[in-house]
């Protein structure tokens, strides 16, 4: 079965084409600057050369058409006809409380995704545009939506509710949803394989740290708690996002600096985190580089970042009454050995025997970075959200 996986942003569209039985990627690509005169389509057939095309792509509908044209292109394509695509899987950021798992797209499902625009005004509308575009260009092909929030819907009330008036939850569904669910789901399953134990027996803390960062306490294969909340601003310190802070800082700052809602939102989402403290960059690689050159602000940013992550791991170990493994994934988690070292070295009380050599190894495979026999293991597990979307799509389409 051939499955097309799509991830639509407000002015971008990323895609991967899978042969799902062999889980082989046939092609990957992306369209950027949708809505402009110089939109760029980048396409790479597996084993082939990368193709770049600049043209005017006005909307997602046209973007999907161009992607399909490229996939069936005489020279750069990977199939002879679009009828070879059996199903399409979409990443949707917010599934609210309605979607606890991936689901087949129907009229009702679309209506519900639209209803959730309120909760994710920047992310859900483009996903909807992607779905409509596929309907127009690949009529009759079943579509599946996979939600970033769905995996975390297993959280109990005590972890998803905020201690504020209950009426706010009833009226506006203000609660913790958590994000990166597909990734936390994928790496926890992979970790169980590496550990050679059934997922249902394990207590895991998964740390998805990239540009956005969240960690999750995963017990018996389900999320018990996760650090992101109603929006992806809560929790860990990130590249440009503050993460946790005293909520009173918001009205206090608005008053003192005479800030509007938009300004304070932008301050916390785009002007905080590593960037604000280091004054250099939101990119951990540049922070580490500057730190090695003796920059004290970069060092402070790094220390705050790793300290806050360590606190979360400790808290989740307590929340689960124990811990079997910590998993690092995503851009920073998979690649930044200094971050992993700074976090893990001071977690000896959890029974972690950190292995510096293993930590420094570069690899695309899931691997241990603790010594053999360490009571608690630490793993690096490369994430693969697209593959999980493709798998979910396959399962749902097969059984429907």
């Amino acid at each position: 079965m051939i499955i097309l996986v799509m991830n639509a942003g407000s002015s971008s569209l990323k895609y991967q084409l899978y042969n799902i039985e062999s889980e082989a990627v046939l092609a990957v690509g992306r369209v950027e600057r949708i809505g402009m005169e110089d939109s760029i389509l980048t396409h790479e057939p597996t084993g082939g050369i990368e193709v770049n095309r600049v043209s005017e792509i006005l909307d997602h509908n046209e973007a999907v058409r161009k992607v399909i044209d490229m996939l069936t292109h005489r020279e750069h394509g990977v199939m002879s006809s679009i009828s070879e695509i059996n199903a399409v899987g979409h990443r949707v950021v917010h599934g609210g409380e309605s979607f606890k798992q991936s689901t087949l797209v129907t009229g009702e499902v679309k209506q519900e995704i639209r209803r959730l625009f309120d909760l994710a005004p920047l992310h859900n509308p483009p996903a909807m545009m992607g779905i409509t575009a596929v309907e127009l260009n690949l009529p009759g092909v079943p579509q599946v939506v996979v939600f970033d929030t769905a995996f975390h819907q297993s959280m109990p009330k005590e972890s998803f509710l905020y201690p504020i008036p209950m009426v706010l939850y009833r009226r506006h569904k203000i609660r913790r949803y958590g994000f990166h669910g597909t990734s936390h789901d994928y790496v926890s399953k992979q970790a169980a394989k590496v550990l050679g134990r059934p997922l249902e027996e394990l207590k895991l803390v998964t740390c998805h740290i990239g540009n956005g960062a969240s960690c999750a306490a995963i017990m018996e294969g389900k999320t018990l708690d996760t650090s992101m909340g109603l929006t992806p601003l809560e929790g860990l310190m990130m590249g440009t996002r503050s993460g946790d802070l005293d909520p009173a800082i918001v009205p206090f700052t608005m008053n003192k600096e005479e800030l509007t809602l938009n300004e304070v939102n932008s301050m916390l989402n785009k002007h905080s985190g590593l960037l604000a403290i280091s004054g250099i960059s939101s990119d951990m690689r540049e922070i580490v580089q500057a730190m090695s050159e003796g920059d004290s602000h970069a060092k402070l940013a790094f220390d705050m970042y790793t300290y806050r992550l360590r606190k979360y791991i400790g808290a989740y170990a307590a929340a689960m009454d124990g811990i079997d493994a910590i998993i690092f994934t995503a851009g920073v988690g998979e690649n930044s050995w200094p971050v992993r070292k700074a976090v893990c070295e001071k977690l000896t009380f959890l029974g972690i025997e950190f292995d510096e050599e293993r930590n420094m190894e570069k690899s695309k495979e899931a691997r241990y970075i603790t010594k053999d026999g360490s009571r608690t293991s630490v793993l690096v597990v490369p994430t693969n959200e697209e593959l999980l979307i493709a798998r979910d799509t396959f399962e749902i389409v097969k059984s429907s």
Binding site: G35, E257, L259, T260, E263, S266, K270, H271
Partner: protein, 291 residues
Amino acid sequence: MTAVRKAGVVGAGTMGQGICEMLAFNGLEVYMVEQDEEKLNQSLGMIEQSLDKQMERWALTSAEKKLVMNRLNKAAELSELADCELVIETITEDLDRKRDIFTQLDQICAPDVILASNTSTLSLTELASVTAHPERVIGMHFVYPVSKTDLVEIVRGLKTSDETFNRTKHFVENIIHKNGVMVFESPGFVTTRLICLFINEAMHVLEEGVASVNDIDSAMRIGYSFQHGPFEMADRFGLDSVLAALERMFREYGELKYRPSFILKKMVRAGQLGAKSGAGFFNYDKDGVRV
């Protein structure tokens, strides 16, 4: 419905700059026309300053600022607006000059291009009358400061078509994300008519010695949650603009309630025009901050 991606703005004074910045911020390619190159550069400089100020307030990142600046294009002549899907005229409130611009735009732009005016008091019908396609002429009255005030009065002239109105409303609500209210042509529409009367009455209260400038401003600001009291508001609009609006409404309606207060006339004659001249009812520094 034709999407709007390129917009022309004729006149880049205070309101024009605000409109250009807001359009570019919302992802449109903007073509700006001014009397000469020097004025255009000056306007671009002012927009850049305004964006810098927003960066200081964390409202914008430097990448976002760059994107906005890149979408602003200088157009030396009106004819360069030929492939814009919407043109907004926002020169000073001078009927003859506006008529001249609409006559030219009517010839330059295809008949389905919306021609909008940001006029606050002049007659849309009269402006439209010089064009061959009066049905595509409409008013889009923005409120200062444009980037922060989410209101546009969409003004229908006598011959403005439903299609033009609907396309404009769609543009206002879905492309630039503001609230559009429909008003029919009438001097001052809703906002200018009501706010100028409010300001004028505050000056009468002052003349009668009922309360001081500070106390009148505090009373209205705190009592009724206005962002600024009537005097600071007038200073920020420009006292000359307030006077001009009142005089036009006085002429059009012929009612005494629109007669401008003597204090206002006196201050304008003395060149105390408010924030832009550094002094009005209050004093301001060069960034327009009250001192």
